[in-house]
């Protein structure tokens, strides 16, 4: 991949290059900081909220209201022993968590968090990189994420991990289809694969109103994609120990964890971009709107986790293949018909 792919069509002037680089580094830093901090606090929020749903407090000992809990957790995980099982396939075992975390982080690269701004007369788009096939990029990375779970489960050389890994792979492959299909109407509506274009196409009407079925399918598939309740079969703790990451400890386990929460935000961002109008909104600046929308989506996900039980494996598969995919296909046809006539 090109390291610098600023969408600037001006002469190869040094100044532009410098400004472009600085802008990129700043954007990268801001996004990374935002994502990691959000991930950490999302964990806290999730635990607190789950606690309240269950009529208890949740973490409240580290700092006021437990606000330092994420740091306590991080320190704990960093200082824990990093155990590699004797029978594990060492290299793969060590790499798998990184795959999960990295793919999740990379996905955010194509999510636009505001309209282009102008700095010293140069247009700087508020997206890490606006490639014109952003959507495909997202899907590509999302598919790569499967490897994290599958390889982690396989390389642990433990039956629980392996079962978890296999479940994860099967589940993600199945739901990816529905995920992709559900977005085709959106692309049809916007007429572009670029996320920036898609956002810009929603200035008047967010697609959630125009394409509610697509939204529903996407949301459900997204939950399955990030393996959250009610689709957390790969780590179903009461059947498989902890599923694919049973054998992981310390920060390596932390990376899986981090990956999951970053993934949550990425999908929150995607939902915002595809269906909730991206950065568009009154009064507040674009990036804030996007953040608000992401948080909202995440809260709903937590709420779902606090409410629904886990599906059975056969239900999961039936639902994916027999309900979601046909529905998505039908939706494509209907949208096509609507656009045609």
């Amino acid at each position: 991949m090109e390291p610098v792919s600023l969408d600037v069509t001006v002469d190869m002037d040094l100044q532009i290059w410098i400004i472009g680089t600085i802008a990129l580094v700043l954007k990268l830093g801001a996004v990374l900081l935002f994502l990691l901090l959000m991930a950490a606090y999302l964990v806290l929020v999730e635990r607190k909220l789950l606690g309240r749903i269950q009529v208890r407090y949740g973490p409240n000992r580290a700092g006021k209201y437990g606000l330092l809990q994420p740091f306590a957790d991080t320190i704990k995980m960093m200082t824990k022993e990093d155990i590699v099982p004797d029978a594990a396939d060492r290299v793969i075992f060590l790499l798998a968590p990184a795959v999960v975390a990295i793919t999740a982080l990379l996905m955010f690269a194509v999510i636009p968090f505001g309209p282009d701004i102008t700095v010293y007369g140069h247009r700087v788009p508020l997206v890490v990189t606006d490639i014109n096939v952003g959507l495909l990029f997202v899907f590509a990375l999302s598919s790569l994420g499967v490897y994290g779970a599958a390889l982690g489960g396989w390389s642990s050389n433990s039956k629980y991990s392996l079962l978890g890994g296999i479940r994860g792979a099967a589940q993600m492959v199945s739901y990816e289809l529905a995920l992709g299909l559900s977005l085709i109407p959106v692309v049809m509506e916007a007429g572009s694969f670029s996320l920036v274009d898609i956002v810009n196409a929603q200035t008047q009407l967010p697609y959630i109103l125009l394409e509610p079925v697509a939204f529903a399918i996407f949301f459900i598939s997204a939950l399955a994609e990030i393996k959250r309740i009610p689709f957390d079969l790969p780590e179903a703790e009461n059947e498989l120990g902890a599923g694919f990451h049973t054998e992981y400890s310390g920060m390596r386990f932390g990376l899986f964890f981090l990956g999951e929460y970053v993934h949550m935000q990425v999908l929150g961002g995607l939902i915002a971009v595809f269906f909730l109008g991206g950065w568009h909104g009154p009064l507040l600046p674009g990036p804030v709107w996007l953040a608000v929308k992401i948080v909202l989506v995440c809260l709903v996900m937590i709420w779902i986790r606090g409410t629904l039980p886990r599906l059975r494996y056969d239900q999961l598969m039936n639902f994916g293949w027999k309900v979601l995919i046909p529905a998505a296909l039908l939706n494509v046809v209907v949208t096509g018909a609507r656009l045609l006539w």
Binding site: V55, R56, L308
Partner: protein, 191 residues
């Protein structure tokens, strides 16, 4: 066999969908409501609830109403303990009383199941509500008889095994226990 948990079975696809949606919505409503309820948690170090006498925590060895060690080292508790954390050595006092020369419980292993208390024929071993026994050095969790003995009868203050048993001790000789006739005269020929 199919077990229907819902009393009114919805008919048809629409009915099922409707019922399902309603149920899910009710679930979401409930959890949402809960978020705004005050938690019922009792926060432990600040708030210490008085535990019932029959709470199963740290084990003690009690004494009979006459102040004697109740344990007769019968090995029943160690035999029944599912994690084998009780060990002892039985011995005999000069007056014929059976007792534990040493008695050891490894609390690092105990699962506080209470089976030992249930098995004990003398009410000697009892679980107490004392639960704050955590230690950093695991060996300090191995309690000896001296650490376990208390000077009361616990939940069963009145029972003294040796008043019921038939063996001769300082508490009573042959025929000197509860519900016993005096020893028969073996040498008498009277019918």
């Amino acid at each position: 066999m199919r077990v229907d948990l819902i009393d009114k079975v919805p008919s048809g696809a629409i009915g099922t969908l409707w019922e399902g949606t309603k149920a899910i919505a009710a679930g979401f409503a409930t959890t949402l409501k809960h978020v705004f309820r005050p938690p019922i948690t009792e926060e432990y170090p600040e708030f210490r609830r008085v535990l019932p006498a029959r709470t199963r925590a740290r084990i003690v060895l009690t004494r009979d109403p006459d102040g004697g060690e109740r344990c007769v080292a019968c090995y029943l508790c160690s035999g029944v303990c599912p994690v084998s954390c009780i060990s002892m050595q039985s011995a005999e006092r000069t007056d014929g009383r059976r007792f534990a020369a040493w008695f050891r419980i490894n609390f690092a292993r105990c699962i506080y199941c209470g089976l030992c208390e249930e098995a004990c024929p003398t009410s000697a071993i009892q679980l107490s509500p004392m639960f704050e026994t955590c230690e950093r050095d695991i060996l300090t969790l191995v309690y000896e008889k001296e650490d376990l003995l208390v000077d009361h009868g616990g939940k069963d203050p009145d029972y003294n095994f040796y008043r019921h048993a038939g063996v001769v001790t300082a508490i009573g000789g042959k025929g000197g226990h509860i519900d016993e006739d005096p020893p028969v005269n073996v040498r008498s020929n009277m019918p």
